[in-house]
């Protein structure tokens, strides 16, 4: 039940616009909790004699559940669903997104992986706690999963064109909404699906008097903003927030409505887990796998510019890049951070 309910709270178009369309302190996991505890769901839980809080706790995991601590068993059960290394949510979205996007990057032998998952003691020095680990025979499947995730992030999820359409969609929904945020009332929230948004999007794209017309038209006519700047390791070494600095200066130069920024970094990557070897010893995955030790962390920074300003902006950036990203004194750095 917890696994089935894990994604109930997603907004239309999933993650695309979550951060800006929900009030402070709200995210899709909190909405998942609200839906699991709603009157409609309570009647189901009652009928099958399940406590809604038990489902909620396991469904969203300790990172998002703020109403109590986790026992070892609860932590393990939740890890099976939401875990960084072998969570079924991760396995599912990689395989499904690969299939529907027509790419092979996210495919791995999930049958072998699931067959070899074990609850194992994770030692850290002299402290031991139970976590999900794997038999040595499944290590290559685990490597394929974690490499697959990296490839899916770099090749598909983080593709600059895919990302800018998320931004245009978010801009459209924000302009189209009559309120500042989406309703967090469960009944109202569940009324809004991808279909309602798509219908409104096409209507707005056709009619310049409608709210969100410009963003909707960009999506429908494939007239998206173009990349002005993308993350470069040399720049990151000079200024961790190089993209942010460029964005701020570009906004000053070309106007806020013509510039967009998108920054993302992969969260904890789950590359370290215990492995049960053929001779029944338990060893860290990083000791057995050179691959896992070296899988990079997916990270992106893009600054986009309106097509009309692209040529001028590119020239401006080429001439001023070094000055813009130069790290400034302590007080001034605060101004460019978010």
């Amino acid at each position: 039940m917890a696994a089935l309910c894990h994604d109930l709270g997603h907004l239309p178009f999933s993650h695309a616009a979550e951060k800006e369309l929900l009030p402070d302190g709200w995210d899709h996991e909190r909405l998942t909790l609200e839906i699991i505890r709603s009157a409609e769901m309570e009647s189901i839980w009652k009928e099958i004699k399940i406590n809604s809080d038990d489902v909620a706790k396991i469904a969203v995991g300790p990172q998002k559940y703020k109403f109590g601590d986790y026992s070892n068993w609860e932590a393990i059960l939740s890890e099976i669903i939401t875990g960084n290394s072998f969570g079924v949510d991760r396995m599912d979205y990689l395989l499904r997104d690969s299939h529907h996007a027509g790419v092979a990057y996210g495919k791995f032998d999930h049958h072998r992986l699931i067959d070899t998952i074990r609850i194992l003691p994770k030692k850290e020095g002299d402290s031991i706690e139970p976590v999900l680990g794997i038999e040595e025979g499944g290590l290559h499947s685990a490597e394929a999963l974690l490499l697959g995730r990296y490839f899916m992030f770099t090749q598909l999820y983080s593709h600059p064109v895919r990302r800018i359409y998320d931004i245009h969609l978010k801009d459209f929904i924000k302009e189209w909404l009559s309120e500042e945020f989406l309703s967090i009332n469960v009944e109202d929230y569940l009324q809004l699906t991808d279909n309602e948004i798509l219908l409104e999007l096409f209507n707005a794209a056709r009619d310049e008097k409608q709210k969100g017309h410009d963003s909707a038209k960009r999506i429908v006519k494939r007239d998206h903003f173009k990349v002005l700047y993308q993350r470069n390791p040399k720049d990151i070494q000079k200024n961790r927030y190089a993209a942010r600095a460029i964005f701020e200066m570009a906004c000053d130069k070309f106007g806020k409505k013509n510039v967009r920024i998108d920054c993302y970094k992969q969260s904890s990557n789950g590359h370290e887990f215990p492995v049960l070897t053929e001779d029944k010893r338990i060893v860290s995955s990083l000791e057995l796998s050179d691959i896992l030790e070296n899988v990079p962390i997916a990270a992106l920074d893009y600054v986009y510019i309106n097509t009309e300003n692209k040529k001028k902006a590119k020239k401006w950036l080429k001439e001023n890049l070094e000055t813009i990203i130069e790290i400034r004194e302590e007080e001034k750095i605060e101004a460019i951070e978010t």
């Binding site: 601590d69 932590a75 402290s127 706690e129 962390i297």
Partner: protein, 184 residues
């Protein structure tokens, strides 16, 4: 605290822990950061819950990963049974150089935590950090025995005598840190 300043404090904490002989696995850094934040009220802004090996912050875990992506930290594998260390990497000095006032402001807190906890193993850090967590969460409960009892319930692998020692030690550390806070 803004993120770059917070990064500078975290990097300084890692430097100080390493100087005291810590192998600086993520668990060490998690617990040391918890102590810096909770003993002194340092505004690092991490939310800690009671999880693996005691108080744990998913935000901090994500931030450490982000710092690796941005070449401020590097993962260094260690022989079994030790987990990998996180060591300062190419961009770390630049960050520290740009925040002298911030580092000076939090230097006493960072040094105190490194001095007190830098040489401790994960199991002892787990007990001490859980003792602080229990003490702060149930502030009305000053009784040493009942706090120790609670620790053994939350962490069944911790023995009662170990929990009692941890609560007594953390009470002393809280007292010293309060004195330092007054001086600051």
């Amino acid at each position: 605290m803004k993120r770059l300043k917070r990064d500078a404090v975290l990097l300084s904490l890692i430097d100080n822990l390493r100087a005291k002989g810590s192998w600086c696995g993520e668990t060490h850094i998690q617990k040391a950061t918890y102590f810096v934040q909770e003993l002194f009220g340092t505004p690092l802004g991490f939310e800690f819950i009671l999880y693996k090996h005691g108080p744990f912050s998913f935000d901090l875990s994500d931030e450490l990963t982000a710092m690796r992506a941005d070449m401020l930290l590097k993962l260094q594998p260690q022989p079994h049974p030790y987990g990998p260390s996180l060591v300062p990497w190419e961009g770390s000095n630049l960050i520290k150089e740009h925040f002298p006032s911030t580092l000076k402001k939090y230097n006493s807190q960072v040094k105190f935590v490194a001095d007190q906890f830098g040489d401790k193993g994960v199991a002892e850090l787990e007990r001490l950090a859980t003792a602080l967590f229990v003490t702060k969460k149930f502030e009305s409960n000053k009784n040493i025995e009942s706090r120790a009892d609670l620790i053994t319930k939350l962490k069944p692998h911790v023995k009662l005598n170990e929990a009692l020692d941890a609560v007594r030690t953390i009470d002393e550390i809280i007292k010293i840190s309060s004195d330092i806070n007054e001086v600051i």
